[in-house]
Amino acid sequence: MSKPVVATASLAGCFGCHMSILDIDERILDLIELVEFNKSPVDDIKTFTKQCDIGIIEGGCCNSENVHNLKDFRKNCNILISLGECAIMGGLPAMRNGIPIKECIEEAYLDGPTVADCNEKKILPNDDEIPMILDRVYPCHEIVKIDYFLPGCPPRADLIWNAVAALVTGGELALPYEVVKFD
């Protein structure tokens, strides 16, 4: 029997959740025994080459490219997991939510302390190749159906391991108090 296939992505996140995946230490060897990785920054596969069993999403959606990637994952993965605060509720990038997008862009490109003196021509990035910025940062489950949520910033390595192992082996998911945290 072939091994379950896992894909991962980091959208509007900091890669901390991926670091936490790696933080399962020597169990990474068990993980490789258990599953096969497809599209993921872990193995640097850039496009889906087959239908996957589990998709793990880090980060929320702050631009059109995130939305495109997330929808692509939904299409190519049977089970989708929101991993970490940003995927679940937008996380720190969502601190801009509630502030009108115009103010955000002004702060980032015109008035902010790191740009105020160096953007004399008041250039705003508007090339067609650049992803379009969304009005706010969206939690993943507001854009596609998400099957499971693993909170944390980052989620504890044990939580990730427990969850993936439970999914793959069909076992009960253990959620000890120490592993379910929001920070």
Binding site: M89, A94, G98
Partner: protein
């Protein structure tokens, strides 16, 4: 000695003193009823509704209602737990609770209740309201994004000449806590500390210090909220 009365919580025989609130009576019997707005020494406000219980079948708030002889209290039933979890989720989505960036994370009562009820994601959509951060006081920072309007600060005795430092303003989902700017200008160190310690979340903070306790040693890092009460059972 006060009159002893007996009653049940989820079928368990309990004893308490007449006049005890249900929360206090439960505590004496090793039963934890979650609270947020309740605070020892302050008049009950019963605004957060997290302590909702049923007394002889009728819903009420355990922080404000007192026990009576022979009553049957329902607390940890599936129905009540669902109500409490829903209320916690409502508080979470109506504000901006960015736990990873919050000074109170790990010691926050709201977060601790989310943990207790294993809120992986709230059932309601986040609202991301725009709220104010009031940094005008030399000593205090009021982060309204995190405020759950428990009114502990409003009910407190933090006053100057009988004038209250905190008050509520507006109504509906625009309701907000206001700090009196004139009074806040002359706040003592002790008053600032008291205000911060009253706040169950990270909405009232003393300026210049934060993130003092390392992760792992904070109030709710190791054991769930209420486990101290339950371990006395």
């Amino acid at each position: 000695m006060s009159e002893q009365i007996t009653f049940t919580i989820d079928g368990k025989q309990c004893t308490a003193e007449k006049g005890d609130t249900i929360v206090a009576a439960a505590k004496k019997n090793g039963v934890y009823i979650p609270t947020l707005c309740d605070f020892e020494g302050l008049k009950p406000a019963a605004t957060c509704r997290v302590c909702t219980v049923k007394v002889n079948g009728a819903p009420t708030t355990a922080c404000s209602a007192t026990v009576s002889q022979g009553v049957e209290i329902e607390s940890n039933t599936e129905e009540i737990t669902n109500i409490r979890k829903a209320v916690v989720e409502m508080m979470f989505v109506e504000g901006n609770h960015f736990c990873p960036a919050c000074e109170k994370s790990g010691s926050c009562d709201l977060q601790a209740l989310c943990y207790k009820y294993q809120m992986m994601v709230p059932r309601y959509d986040f609202t991301f309201p725009r709220k104010e951060l009031d940094a005008t006081s030399p000593k205090l920072l009021i982060e309204k994004n995190r405020c759950i309007l428990c009114k502990r600060c409003v009910r407190s005795s933090i006053t100057t000449n009988g004038k209250s430092l905190f008050a509520v303003a507006k109504r509906g989902n625009k309701t907000v806590i206001q700090m009196d700017k004139t009074l806040a200008a002359d706040l003592s160190e002790e008053q600032a500390k008291e205000a911060m310690e009253l706040c169950p979340v990270g909405a009232i903070l003393k300026k210049e210090t934060g993130f003092v306790t390392p992760i792992g040693q904070r109030k709710y890092d190791a054991a769930p909220i209420g486990s101290d009460i339950e371990s006395n059972a």
